[in-house]
Symmetry: C2
């Protein structure tokens, strides 16, 4: 599976949220902080098409874009990659890491415990 760059990811996010969309609609929905011109968004769309993670269908003289890759699949791949690289493929050290950095609230802990309990049954 082709890698998706950071900026390209922002475009995918938009389309995972809502699709199909035209290039102009995607541009509207990209977070304003990016400050991208329409041209930039179009470049992203072309590159994502070339990478095969987007599809487009004709709609008159323009295209409607939609993801060709499920968000879950992408997210699973990226998470796995990070955990493999940094934690030798094991999740526990990541949890420990985050805990040590106070990234876990008591509510988070409860939630994860509940999730794990459900998994065991």
């Amino acid at each position: 599976m082709e890698r998706i760059a950071e900026g390209e990811y922002a475009v995918m996010e938009v389309l995972w949220e809502e699709s199909p969309l035209t290039a102009a609609e995607v541009a509207e929905r990209v977070p304003a902080e990016r400050g991208w011109s329409l041209a930039t968004v179009k470049t992203m769309l072309s590159r994502l098409l070339a990478k095969g993670v987007l599809r487009h269908e004709e709609d008159g003289r323009r295209y409607l874009y939609r993801p060709a890759l499920a968000r879950e699949d992408y997210v699973a791949e990226e998470s796995g990659r990070l955990i493999d690289r940094m934690f030798g493929g094991r999740l526990t050290p990541l949890v420990a890491q985050l805990a040590a950095r106070d990234r876990l609230t008591p509510a988070d802990i409860e939630e994860i415990e509940a999730l794990l309990k459900a998994l065991k049954s």
Copy 2:
């Protein structure tokens, strides 16, 4: 904090494992799958120096390199970045994600439960 590229990360890994080391020693210890020449490793070292994540001290006519950035700090930053981007900053969806993909063994679950229990006290 400067970003560290994928290849550069491999060099950091070596130095986090053992330091200080000379360029040649780093090259020896980089995973063989990379198939890097010594020249490539030296380039990486220079760039990492420029980014300020490595230090070097003189040792006669060569340098000894050592990390100027703790592994924990880097790992914390990267993990946080990924979790922010893909899971809205929350860890629970990541755990759920991994669970759904069978990336969690029963042993993992036990381990994390124990960790969380310890955290609560």
